[in-house]
Subunit: 104 residues, 4 copies
């Protein structure tokens, strides 16, 4: 089953600057063959459920290895059977609607 | 790696009453040998990462099978290496603090 | 507009034990006249949008005052116009479905 | 208090295509004087707490007016007192780290 996931990793006990840990996650995802889409509050990825969840598990393992004793992560995820859709499709779809006149 | 997960499943395209789908997820989790803790905005479970994520994948598969063409799920999850902690510990810990005088 | 909110506050830069901060939020919510429902991964509250969001803002202000330099919070929230529903209704509705035979 | 919020609006009871509702939210945010940053799984905004939360409330009100009987929204939000930070800073900070060699 294909899944689209947007997740935000918050390591605890490593100070206030978290960007280097987010960067390590990007590396883990790429090493897993995924294409992470970084934004200000998280990272979106898509792929087979087990592949994506396995890669996010490895993000946790890597951040623990780098010294984070506790990690709090949030995810939004979507699956659908009505049609195929990619992360890029989702953004394009909203942008297309923004070119139309507002609803009323 | 042990993980604690709180998740909230929102099936789309099946009307406004979602409780029967949440109930099916409870059944899937129990069938997987997990102990779901239901609350008003989701369900908490704990266990090995792959076991828990596999069970949540089966929730999605089951809701699709029951007719939901699209599912939007959110998760909060935590892992830690400093000590063992259960979902019950987390609640007890806050309740103990509520019996103490407020901080200042 | 009535809203139901489930939120999870994660203060950063104050060590690994967060329960005392969660307990302070409970106190802030009660002082605001709300009825918090604590669970292992957050707290649910309901009320008028501005009242609830104002109380959660005061949780942030209070935790900053108590020494947390950074706070990461996640929320799930729901509004509906089709009927009135409370947090207690949501749990009861799922429990009622669990007493029925599974769907097929 | 300044806040950065990333939110994802899921209207229920309006079919499977949600992009037009997300587009309406973009319009509401801009009309409120905010600068929304759209991504595949949500929209990020920043500003004064009450201003941002008021604008998101108006998103809900507008989607209800357009026919959505129920709306499920999730938010990630951050406040900090140690330094000023913008949404753009957050992304730049991770990108800078990605140019450095991996941690070990």
């Amino acid at each position: 089953m294909q899944v689209m996931v947007d997740f935000c990793v918050v390591p605890l006990g490593v100070g206030l600057s978290l960007s280097k840990y987010v960067a390590e996650c990007e590396r883990v995802l790429k090493a897993a063959g995924l294409t992470p889409h970084l934004h200000a509050f998280g990272t979106s990825v898509e792929g087979e459920w087990d592949e994506v969840m396995g890669a996010i598990r490895r993000c946790h393992e890597e951040l623990h290895r780098l010294g984070a004793p506790r990690i709090h992560t949030t995810m939004r995820l979507g699956t659908r059977t009505d049609r195929e859709q990619t992360l890029a499709d989702k953004v394009e779809s909203v942008k297309a609607k923004l070119k139309e006149p507002p609803q009323d």
